[in-house]
Symmetry: C2
Subunit: 194 residues, 2 copies
DNA sequence: CAGGTCATGTAATAAGTTACATGATTAA
DNA sequence: TTAATCATGTAACTTATTACATGACCTG
């Protein structure tokens, strides 16, 4: 159950469930998502288990918040997660499963599929590049000399960009292969007048 | 619910639940996993919904199997899935979330983490490369002239290899950055005798 | 006859999503 | 005053994992 550990990680600063949801969107959106309906019960459970404490606090805007903070046990739990080595589960990439069965639709739709996929990942990459640009605008010699959490945040950002680039390039390659195969096919069906 | 659609895709040839589990391991393992405990009920439900038919059949080895095959409705359902465009959900890469919080452990463990991660993905890549090698051993001019389902199977294989390579290279980069940052840190703590 | 693989299932639990319900505060 | 945002939660449902139960058949 990684959600618990991720919440502990995000709680380096005390925060409410609502704050944490925003942190997910801002910091982890391209590799983890969580709904409020999942976050609130998780926080409650973690408090019950002694990993967190909470107290209510007036907000600058809107109603009172319930602010959570890690206990010493919460700290330990986070450390253990990180010290237990990387958690690599098998991915669930349904779009890639779709590719595996794409031979059951006509070529025109195969091409559409890859074009849509490429556009989708170009959007994803653009989002990350915007973040990266903001970052280096604020701090000119950015990739160097980053310390503490910023270093790791930058690493995850960088992997995101290169991973999306890998997929975008692969889409181009697939499109070329399909066009090539399609041309050969058309050639044998309808040989030129010669 | 992609599992249903993936099962439909795998059922290009009639197969039993047990056969399908093996197909998952052999064909989709690096981007989708499914347990028998998930497959059997899914097949039952799909038959109830008219997407599949089944009949019992003696096996060459072991007890009788229940062989499933797609109905016309099942075919249509698969086509619709593919024609509805790529299904891109946000990934859940807990190891990447771990990286995001790695500033809370000592440098030595940060290094260990990336070394383990790199080794893990090197294993993954090696698996795929074995498959790719078998493939081109059987068929010398393999990447060219592939048609039908083989073309798409080859595409997914290729993405797997390049994606793992991207991650492996990124690990090297991260290790370098950490060693560099650590050297600077050590330098300021313990300046050389000069 | 013991251990392995083939083969099919159920039960209990965990994790995640969608929909619903409530209410405060603030800016237009 | 009305829409947006802030804020917290519950209920129902779907999806996925782990553990358990059963039994046929085959090899040594």
């Amino acid at each position: 159950m990684s959600l618990q550990h991720i919440l502990l990680g995000l709680l380096a600063q005390p925060a409410s469930g609502y704050d944490l949801k925003q942190a997910f969107q801002q910091r982890l959106s391209h590799y983890w998502a969580a709904e409020l309906a999942q976050i609130y019960p998780a926080l409650k459970r973690m408090q019950r288990d002694g990993l967190l404490t909470s107290r209510q606090q007036a907000s600058d805007k809107g109603p009172r918040k319930r602010i959570y903070r890690r206990t010493a046990a919460g700290q330990r739990c986070l450390q253990q997660w990180l010290q237990s080595g990387p958690e690599v589960h098998s991915d669930r990439l349904s779009w890639l499963a779709q590719v595996a069965f794409l031979d059951t639709v006509p070529v025109a739709e195969q091409l559409d599929f890859f074009r849509l996929l490429q556009a989708e990942f170009e959007r994803h990459r653009a989002q990350l590049q915007t973040i990266a640009a903001d970052w280096s605008a604020q701090d000119p010699d950015c990739p160097e000399h980053l310390g503490g959490n910023d270093l790791f945040a930058h690493m995850t950002l960088r992997l995101g960009v290169t991973k999306y680039t890998t997929i975008i390039d692969w889409c181009s390659e697939c499109l070329q292969r399909l066009e090539h195969a399609d041309a050969k096919q058309a050639g044998s069906d309808h040989p030129t007048a010669s």
